[in-house]
Subunit: 344 residues, 2 copies
């Protein structure tokens, strides 16, 4: 069990890379809030339909970074909020995220999620879809209890945008004619929208004006883009044991990610034919991943992806720079740098 | 194209059984509201991610009864409501229903839905899950625009209850030890909860007190139970062409429905062994459906199911009887009778 939800455990020690990165330090600073959030998550995953807490427990064991709830907590505290609402909204954000992971497991047929067998592999497609639906509904119940229509609007819109991004990803999945703007639209939906909403609602509970909430949303959106780009890079670069993620997942699923777009654009005729066969037609042999990794290296596709991510990290910091200086603001800025540097 | 959404078409003529039943007459009385609801549904299914309106159009072609939105419209009008909010909430109720159908297609692997190939069979599991998520999110966006936290609470709770019911169904699916109370809990979730919420929000937009809203919810819940019981009966009794539903779907999926519970309880040793093999172990041969139908007939399981449904129909009418007499109330009561009589 290495999840943050392990009761009584230091909220920061359990992450898969326990070095003193900015996210770890954010988790330590916000430890009490995070403990309360984890308590709320556990309480609200309860159901007398046994499979629901069972499957929930499986996800809890997998842990996860609690990155999105951490953003809600940080944004609220940065805005000087002193109440309890941000706890419930942080739980709500994690429920939405977990629901999309469950539905993603169905979609992507990925065997590993957070280093453990995916919920799908253990419980089946059916349970993943339905428990995901339950968590979505619970998330909205939490928002209704909170009672802010602004919060509801932000998180409903984010949910619709996430679904649109996932559908767009589905339709671009085997299509090498996908261009960069379209790729960005996919990850704006599937990743950046919830990062943005998670930050923005922190400003809303603190009753801050639209300039502040907009800055927080801008920070979250750019941070989400940076994270996703680096995740995409890591899929062609990471050590599987270290990250709990299978290298080449995206390749095997025929996903068009930034590194592939770069390598395809820079490739010659035979290289493009390789990408068309493996990605568009989904015809892959055992040696293809090695070839793909070689082409990615040859065209510095990882380097280009990281530079793009770095530009988003700068954008994230610029957005935060409009807010008053504060130790929490500094940590949030460092988190943007960490989003990029973690690839090393 | 025989859906109610065909623009300019009489809202009633398109249903699969066009005789003068109570639902048809309700649809005629509420025709203008229904046309507006269909317009709202079309407008809000729009997305610049092309697969979403494409898949939506597939569902629109399939039509469906628009039963749940009809209940919202009827309840609101019965309460004397004269505004526009009930239109949006009726659309929202249909979105939630359509989303659950899409997710059900993934879950049940059923080949037919409303007489056409299911969305799943045409577009694949992935699209069904994600477009379902999009419709859920759109439904909540519509509610947030409406701005009533009471409406949001009712429909969020219903959504969570639906998901719980579906998960419970999943865990009881191959388990003959399922008893009647547990079976009722499944259909309370998967069917009655949304019927109840659809009716209740009609009272809420009309600003009626909790006695009235509670009566409407009670009517909807009992009506939903009656409808589901009769649907379950029809699965072992209906003419496929007439209903657009495959006879024996539930049997092949190993679903425990009321008729099976009755036949199992009344069966002798070899009969119980038959049910265990075909339902619990999922080992079925080509002649098993015929045997199942024979056992269902032998123990009058359809008759018992219909009598149970009739009891719920009476409960539905009793709930409405607490409200003032009105032609619309009379039609809604007749709809409860029709829910049962349509099996003939």
């Amino acid at each position: 069990m290495d999840g943050l939800l392990t009761s009584g455990q230091d909220a920061g020690t359990a992450r898969t890379r326990p070095e003193e990165d900015a996210l770890h330090r954010l988790a330590v600073v916000l430890q009490d809030d995070l403990t309360e959030t984890n308590r709320t998550i556990l309480a609200r995953m309860a159901s007398d339909v046994e499979l629901i807490p069972q499957l929930a427990a499986h996800l809890i064991a997998a842990g996860g970074k609690r990155l999105r709830p951490l953003l809600t907590l940080a944004a609220a505290r940065l805005c000087g909020y002193r109440g309890e609402r941000h706890i419930h909204l942080a739980a709500c954000v994690e429920f939405i995220h977990t629901a999309t992971l469950l539905h993603d497991d169905v979609v992507d047929e990925s065997g590993l999620r957070r280093g453990l067998a995916s919920a799908n592999a253990v419980f089946g497609n059916k349970a993943s879809v339905l428990v995901g639906d339950f968590l979505f509904a619970r998330a909205f119940e939490l928002m209704v209890e909170d009672g802010s229509l602004d919060v509801l609007r932000i998180l409903c819109n984010a949910s619709a945008t996430i679904a649109e991004g996932e559908v767009l990803q589905l339709t671009t999945q085997n299509d090498l004619s996908t261009d960069i703007p379209r790729y960005f639209k996919v990850i704006e939906g599937k990743t950046a929208a919830l990062f943005a909403a998670a930050c923005e609602v922190g400003g809303v509970v603190a009753d801050r004006d639209s300039a502040v909430c907009g800055a927080l949303a801008g920070y979250g959106a750019a941070l989400g883009m940076a994270f996703q780009l680096v995740d995409d890079a890591l899929d062609y670069a990471a050590d599987q044991n270290e990250l709990g993620k299978t290298v080449g997942d995206d390749f095997r699923e025929g996903k068009l990610t930034y590194p592939v777009l770069v390598a395809y654009a820079a490739g010659d005729g035979p290289e493009r034919a390789f990408w068309r066969r493996t990605i568009e037609d989904g015809e892959q042999t055992e040696t293809d991943l090695a070839t793909a990794l070689d082409l990615i290296r040859r065209h510095d596709a990882i380097g280009q992806t990281i530079r793009e991510a770095d530009a988003f990290a700068r954008k994230a910091k610029d957005a935060l720079a409009t807010l008053p200086d504060d130790p929490l603001r500094a940590l949030m800025m460092e988190a943007a740098d960490y989003a990029v540097s973690r690839h090393r």
